[in-house]
Symmetry: C2
C-alpha cells in the first residue's frame, strides 16, 4: 500500500519530489544518469545494478529505541498473561512494572532474555503474524503513528526511482530478517527475497497435524552488522552493489565493500540533523552512532544527506490532514 504512495512521482518531471534541489539530490540523479546511459563510460548492465540500503535510521526512524526492541517490549506485555512467572522474574518484571532502574540493571543479559522470549520458541509463521499484529496496534511514542508509517518519504522515492532505472533494491540491516520481511514489501516495494538481516537458527519439525514447521531457536546464526554487512551482502546477494546507503558506523564496512568495486559507485549516508521533524544525533549517540563512517565519508567525498536541509518532507504523514507531529 505504502509503495503506491510513490507512484505520483513518475507523473511529474521530478522523480524525487521530497528532496530539495541542490548538490545532494544532484549527486544521486547524476549517478543514475551516468550508469544507465548506454554507451557511456560509466554504463552498468541491468543485472549489476544492485543497490543496498540499511534500514534503521536509513529507511525508517530508529529513535527513541530501535523499533524491533519496542516490538519486543510490547510483546512481553502481550504475552504476560500466559507467563504468570514473569511477575516475579527479571527482566520481565521490570518491563511489566516499568521499573527502569531494574531494567537497566538487567543489562545486555536481560535484553537477550527479552529477545529470546519474544523471538524464539514459536514457528516462523506465528512470529510473522505477531509482527503484523503489533504493527496494526502499536504507536510511536512521540509521533503517535504506526511504526510502519515512520518511514522516510524521500528514501521511499529514491527506492522507486532506482527501480524505475533498472536497479534491484535490497535491504541490508542489522535487524532480524523475520522481523523485517512481513511488512517491507508494502512499505518499500522490496520483496522478502531481497531483505538481508540478522537471523537465528530455525529447526525443521513435523507438527501434530503432520504439517512441517520451522521453529525459531534461541541461537543466533548470523549478525548482519558492521563487517557482517559485507559478509551478508556476499552471502545473500553474491554480487557487489554499485550503490549503498547507510546512516551509522554499523554501515561503514558495507559502504567500503561497495566502494571497492570497479566503475562508478554511489555511497550515501543519512545524517540526522532535524530535531524538529525527526531527531538530531550523530557522534555521541548510543543508537545509530555516526562517527568513523562520517569521517570517511567526508574524506572520500561520499554523499552525506543533511536531513534538515536536503529533505522537503521527512514522513508522508506530515502532508496529511491530521497535521505534523510534535
Amino acid at each position: 500500500m505504502a509503495a503506491m504512495a510513490y507512484a505520483p512521482a513518475f507523473a511529474q518531471t521530478d522523480p524525487l519530489p521530497s528532496w530539495n534541489d541542490g548538490a545532494t539530490k544532484a549527486s544521486i540523479t547524476d549517478f543514475v544518469a551516468r550508469v544507465t546511459k548506454e554507451g557511456g563510460t560509466d554504463f552498468v548492465a541491468h543485472s549489476e545494478r544492485i543497490a543496498v540500503f540499511d534500514n534503521d535510521g536509513t529507511l525508517w526512524c530508529e529513535q527513541p529505541v530501535y523499533f524491533q526492541l519496542a516490538f519486543a517490549f510490547d510483546q512481553i506485555k502481550t504475552m504476560a498473561p500466559k507467563h504468570p512467572e514473569w511477575s516475579s522474574q527479571q527482566p520481565f518484571k521490570a518491563l511489566l512494572t516499568k521499573d527502569r532502574q531494574a531494567l537497566a540493571a538487567a543489562g545486555e543479559k536481560g535484553l537477550l532474555q527479552v529477545m529470546a522470549a519474544t523471538h524464539t520458541g514459536m514457528t516462523t509463521e506465528d512470529f510473522s503474524r505477531s509482527v503484523l499484529d503489533w504493527l496494526s496496534t502499536a504507536r510511536h511514542p512521540r509521533f503517535n503513528r504506526p511504526y510502519n508509517e515512520m518511514i522516510y518519504l524521500p528514501m521511499g522515492e529514491l527506492l522507486a526511482y532506482l527501480r524505475a532505472n533498472g536497479f534491484k533494491t535490497f535491504v541490508v540491516s542489522g535487524g532480524g530478517v523475520e522481523f523485517m520481511r512481513p511488512w517491507m514489501e508494502k512499505a518499500y516495494g522490496i520483496p522478502p527475497e531481497q531483505v538481508v538481516g540478522s537471523s537465528g537458527v530455525t529447526q525443521f519439525k513435523t507438527g501434530a497435524d503432520g504439517r512441517p514447521v520451522l521453529m525459531k531457536q534461541p541461537k543466533v546464526e548470523f549478525i548482519d552488522d558492521g563487517p557482517g554487512k559485507a559478509s551478508g551482502i556476499n552471502r545473500f546477494i553474491g554480487r557487489r552493489p554499485i550503490l549503498a546507503f547507510g546512516n551509522s558506523d554499523g554501515d561503514q564496512q558495507m559502504l567500503q565493500w561497495t566502494a571497492a568495486g570497479p566503475g562508478a559507485r554511489f555511497l550515501g549516508i543519512v545524517h540526522h540533523t532535524d530535531a524538529t521533524r525527526e531527531y538530531a544525533y550523530d557522534r555521541p549517540s548510543k543508537i545509530g552512532q555516526l562517527d568513523k563512517a562520517w569521517d570517511e565519508a567526508v574524506q572520500r567525498g561520499w554523499t552525506v544527506v543533511d536531513m534538515a536541509k536536503d529533505w522537503k518532507t521527512v514522513f508522508a504523514f506530515e502532508r496529511g490532514s491530521t497535521g505534523a507531529a510534535q
Copy 2:
C-alpha cells in the same frame, strides 16, 4: 551463453522440446497453465511464483562424484607446487599419488582437510576465479566434457519456461554457494542472488592495498541440505515456493516444506534411470540416494521424472556434431 541455448524453444509451439510427451510433461504444463490463468481457482500472483531447484543430480550430473569434490581434488594438484609439505602429508599425499587406499583411510576427516585447503584461506574473489579456471580446463572423466556442459537440457528448458511464465527461479543446493554462483547465471539463467547453498564464515579484512576483502574461513556457517533446505529457503528467500524439484532424500524436506503451503503446488523428482545416456541409481546409492523421498512421492502423487523415458535429450552435447558420449 548456455542460457541462450533455450531461446529457440519459444519460437516453437512446444516450450519443452527435450521432454517426451506423456503424463510427466503434462503434469508440468498443466500446473503452469493453472497457476497463471487469471481468474482461475489456482491463480498465483507473479510475486508468489517461486520455484526452487536442487542442483546436483537435478540440474546437472552428480556422478561419479559430486563435481565440487572433483574440483577440490583437482585443486590439490593445482596448488601442490606451492605446498611441498603435501608430498608427505595425508590425505594430500594420497590424492597426489592416486593412492585410493590411503585416501579411503583418511575418511571424512581427510575430506574436510581437502575442503579446507581448497575452499578456505583465500579471498572470495580468488576462490571464484579458481572455480572458473577449473571449469575452463577440467573434463568429466566419462563424457570428456567441461563440467558445466554436464547440465540437463530438459531442466534448462523447464527453468526458461517457468521464467517465461512469471516464475522466479532459485537454486537451493547442498553445494557451496561460492562454488555455484560464478557459473550459474550463464548455465541456468539464475543470478547469484537467487542461488542458495551451504556456506562458510567469511571475514572482512582490509588488504595490503587498503582495499577490503572477504577471507574465506575454515568454519562452516550453514549446511543447506535435508531439513536445512527448508531453513535455507526460509532464510534466503523468505517465501514458500509453489514448485520444487529435487532428486534425492536430501531434497525431501524442501519438497515437504513446499507442499505444505496453501493452493496449487508442484513437486518433482528426477529419477536417474538412464545408464546409457547418464547414470542409473536410486535406493542404495551413496551419491544422490533416492529412497524415502521416492516413497513419499509415490504416496502423495508427486511427479517422478523417469529420465530414460521422459527425456528426449539429456545433455545438449548429445545433439552436437562431436557425437554422443560413451
